[in-house]
Structure formats: C-alpha cells, structure tokens
C-alpha cells in the first residue's frame, strides 16, 4: 500500500463574492490522482501558477478539496477520527514556499525548531536543546543561531530553519515547496544529501515541489508534471522526463539554462570573449 494516495482530487478556490467581480471560480486542480510509496520522493514540476502549492496544501489537510480524497496510510485525512488526525499531523510535515510567513516572527530559532519536539517528544530541557543544536548543524547552521529571531536570518538561512523543524520528528512524509530555491549550490547540495540520507536511513518520503529540474532529478524517484491544474505527466522513472514528447515538457527541457556563459541562449547576451 502506498503511504500517500491522492484520488481524483478536483479543487477550486471560493470566488470572493464580496468583490465586484463574480467570475465562476476556475478549477485550480482537475482530477488529480497520484501516489507516493514509503521511502520514495515524488518530484513535482510545473509552470508557475499550475497549482503545485495548492496540491501541497490539499495533501497537508489545509485546503479541503471539493472532490476526491487524500489517503494517508489508507486513512482519509479529511474524515479520519481525531486521534488518527493527530497522528497524521505528526507524521506529515511541511516546508512552505514562503519561509517568512511560515514562522512566528516573535519566536527564536530555538523555539521554532524545538516546537514540534516540545509538543510530541517529552525531552528534558537539556536534551531538547542538544537535539535542536544537532538539527541546526545538519542544515549548516550552528549553536550561535539559537537565540536569533526570523528577521535576523537571511532568506536561505530561514529556509534551512524550516527544514530543520520539518525533519525534527522524523515524520513519514514531508511536503517541500520550493524549499531549496534560495540556497547557494553548496548549501543546496548539503540539504539534498541530508534529505536523501533520511530517505535511505529512515524511509522518509517527500513530495518535492520545485521549478529546478536538476534538483528534482537529483533527489526524486518518480516525477510528475502539473500544467493548468492537470497532472499531464507522471513518470515512474525520472528518466522518462527526458524522452517525453509532451510539448510542455519539451518546452521545459529547452528552457534549462546552461551553467556556463559560453552556452548562453539570450541572443543579445552572446558575445565574443
């Protein structure tokens, strides 16, 4: 049985009738079905605005879809009893696309990362602090950062604090929404290696939402492509992405930038040197 199953999910946001424009609400997700097995990573690619973050929220239980089901270990997350939902909340973690909104500005890094531990693991004060320091170190931060507040961190540092928090309870599934998108390549590699390690050692699974095809390729086992709310491609093997003849995928492939100025593609930027 798959760890997570999304079955025929269709969703649109409520149109805001208090506004003057009352358009029929457009479907943001149409008939999405997918699954994630234990210890695997599904990479989700797709054009900006395609519905990736919305699908992430639906899977996390934050946006109840108008149609369809989300099953976590076989339980419908929207109808499960309270106890099951409590357990799911622990086993299903998230790193949101917008790392500043995801944290409480009045909490220090120590309490942000320590909060899930505080809620679920009954550790002594010293044990908890030690665990938080270990987590910070794993994402390339340090004990020095414990007492800092969100506004005292850079964009990439805050992203890593959110990652440290999400892995703190060794959940079963983490939804990572553009979670390495502001990291320099050295730190990005560090995080991708950490995630792969946790996947291998503890069987963690991920929904890895990203626009970065190389990052998706490096960590994912399976890949999906969302376009205008529809899952247009779903590969069991990530290599299929490179043989797909779907025009959207072809366009994506041809837009990947070479990482050397000699292979530039913008016509006005190509020069002789």
């Amino acid at each position: 049985m798959s760890l997570l199953q999304v079955k025929a999910v269709t969703h649109s946001y409520n149109s805001h009738t208090f506004l003057k424009w009352k358009e029929p609400s457009k479907k943001v997700l149409t008939d999405i079905s997918l699954s994630i097995d234990e210890g695997t990573c599904l990479g989700l690619l797709g054009t900006s605005g395609a519905g990736k973050s919305t699908l992430g929220k639906v899977i996390l239980g934050l946006e109840r879809p108008q149609q369809g089901q989300v099953l976590f270990q076989g339980h419908d997350i929207y109808t499960a009893d309270k106890l099951t939902r409590q357990k799911i909340r622990r086993d299903l973690q998230v790193v949101f696309q917008d790392s500043y909104s995801a944290v409480n500005p009045r909490m220090t890094a120590e309490s942000i990362v320590g909060e899930p531990l505080e809620n679920y693991e009954k550790l002594t004060v010293t044990e908890q602090k030690r665990t938080v320091i270990e987590l910070l170190e794993r994402v390339g931060l340090s004990e020095k950062d414990l007492k800092k507040y969100p506004h005292q961190f850079s964009g990439g540092q805050l992203q890593r604090i959110n990652i440290a928090r999400a892995i703190s309870l060794k959940p079963l599934l983490i939804v990572l929404d553009e979670s390495v998108s502001s990291l320099d390549m050295v730190n990005q590699t560090l995080i991708l290696e950490l995630l792969s390690e946790l996947k291998k050692d503890f069987g963690l699974s991920y929904l890895f939402i990203t626009h970065d095809i190389k990052a998706a390729y490096s960590i994912s086992d399976t890949l999906g492509v969302l376009e205008k709310g529809e899952l247009i491609e779903h590969y069991n093997s990530k290599d299929q992405f490179f043989s797909s003849e779907h025009p959207v995928v072809e366009q994506m492939r041809s837009s990947i930038l070479a990482e050397h100025p000699r292979y530039r593609s913008l016509p006005m930027r190509i020069n002789k040197s």
Binding site: T47, S48, K52, S53, Q157, H211, K214, L257, R264, M268
Partner: protein, 275 residues
C-alpha cells in the same frame, strides 16, 4: 578611479554593523564594486554571506535604529548613504527599481495588486489613473503573466509565488529606472517563465541602458546574464571577475567549490549544452 567607463552606481568601503543584545556585530565589510551603464553585475555567494544586506544598504532599507551603514554609495555621483527618508523615497522605485527576495513581504496584504501597482506608478510619474493602469497591464504582459486585468483585481494571497514574483519584476521594470536591483528574482519561476523574465530584463537593459545588480544563487541565471561577477562569503567579497574568467578560471577556493557543486543530470542521451 578615473576611467572612460560610466559608472552609474558605485559602492565604496561599505561596512554594515548591527546592534544586538550581545553588542555590535558586522554583517558586511570592505564591499567595493561599480555598476556600469547598461551592464549586469552578478552577485553570488554563500547563503548568509551578506548579499541582501548589501542590496538593502544601497536602498537604505535597513532598520536605521539598529544598523549603521558606513562607506559611500553613489548613484550617478549623488551620495545615497545617509539621505533622509523623503529623499531616498524619491529615488527608490524611480531611479532604482528593486525586486525583493521575498515577494510576499513586499506587498500589503489588505490592498489589491492593482491598487499597489497603480499607486507605485503614480507616485513616480505624472500618469493619471487610467494611464497607470494601462502601463501596469502592459508591464505584466511583458513578464508573461496571463490575464493581467484579473491579476490587478487580486489580493496578494490569491496569487502563486511565481505570479507575485513576476508582478514585482513588472513593477520594478516599468518605469525604466537607471538601476534595477534584483535579489533572487527567479526563485519561484519555472524554467520557461524564468527565460521570459530574463529576456525581458535584458531587453530593458539594451533599450534603456538600465544597469542591473543581479543577486542569484542560480549559476545558470548568472551565466546567462552577467558581464562581471562578485563572489561573497562571510560578509566580504572574495573574488570579482569577468563572467567568462570566473567560470573558466576561478581563483578563490569558495568560487571553485561553488562551481563544482553544480548539479548535473546523468542521463544516457547527452544533453549537449548542459555541463
């Protein structure tokens, strides 16, 4: 330095300190660079190395109560460091367009995009409301945003991360500033939209001679756009070089490490342009 080149923006001996509970701590130091007319200066570096602090210093957007900015920042010969709020507000958005790293925080949640976009245009131009709205719509089309009229009526939370990022780029670019500071402008964009946005920025550069300070961790974006590149680590510049020189012959250890960390796609069919 006296040269034939026309420097639009010059940063000299920039040094930024912040007051914390445990005393003063230095965020960036000895920062020196020049931005020439119609050129793109790439700024890369470790997460936390001071890229955003540097750009916020230029814009004088750091919290004045807790931070001290020393050194000189000149825009077409005019000193920006220490300008009072009113003077700098006349420059921000008009002479220096900026795209912030965090799109969500750059908008007020309670006003529509249209309200904020039109107000920004009107505060820097003599356009009336209708003209400003037309300009906003055109600017959004330029960055490949579908249905701009609808985007104008939306609230920030109703847009996806990449849509907001494109709105911000449209806002920064539409009044033809002499400098654009773009802090990780494509982090939420898929590769196709990223290319459209870069193409548009490059068009503005070549048509209006706009200079661009481009902060990006994405070495593809830097390769594509930059003329010269500044590399930062631990609050300092560790290397400055022409982009070809930097990629072919990196000098500093950190630059080498950064270039070696480029991910590759190992796939049977060689994707020839991918290194």
């Amino acid at each position: 330095m006296r040269t034939e080149r026309s420097n639009v923006l010059t940063v000299s001996d920039l040094h930024v300190q912040v007051q914390t509970k445990d005393g003063a701590s230095t965020l960036v130091q000895d920062i020196n660079f020049e931005l020439e007319k119609g050129k793109v200066l790439g700024l890369v570096g470790e997460s936390g190395s001071g890229k955003t602090v540097t750009s916020m210093s230029i814009l004088q957007l750091l919290d004045r109560k807790t931070t001290t900015i020393k050194g000189s920042i000149t825009l077409q010969g005019r000193e920006l460091n220490g300008l009072d709020d009113k003077e700098i507000r006349g420059i921000r958005g008009k002479d220096i367009g900026f795209i912030m790293q965090n799109p969500m925080n750059s908008f007020t949640p309670v006003f529509t995009i249209g309200n904020q976009f039109v107000e920004t245009i009107r505060s820097h131009t003599a356009l009336n409301k209708k003209q400003a709205k037309e300009l906003a719509i055109e600017a959004m089309q330029n960055v490949n945003l579908p249905n701009p009229a609808k985007v104008l009526k939306s609230y920030p939370f109703q847009l996806s991360g990449g849509m907001l990022q494109r709105v911000m780029i449209a806002m920064a670019a539409c009044i033809q500033p002499s400098v654009i500071i773009a802090d990780e402008p494509t982090t939420a964009l898929d590769v196709h939209n990223q290319l459209q946005v870069l193409r548009h920025l490059d068009k503005i550069r070549s048509e209006y001679g706009t200079s661009i300070l481009l902060i990006s961790h994405d070495l593809g974006v830097i390769s594509e756009m930059a003329d010269d590149v500044v590399v930062m680590q631990h609050g300092r510049i560790v290397e400055t070089a022409n982009v070809y020189e930097l990629f072919d012959n990196p000098q500093h250890e950190y630059t080498k490490k950064l270039l070696n960390a480029r991910l590759s796609i190992k796939h049977e069919e060689p994707i020839t342009h991918m290194l």
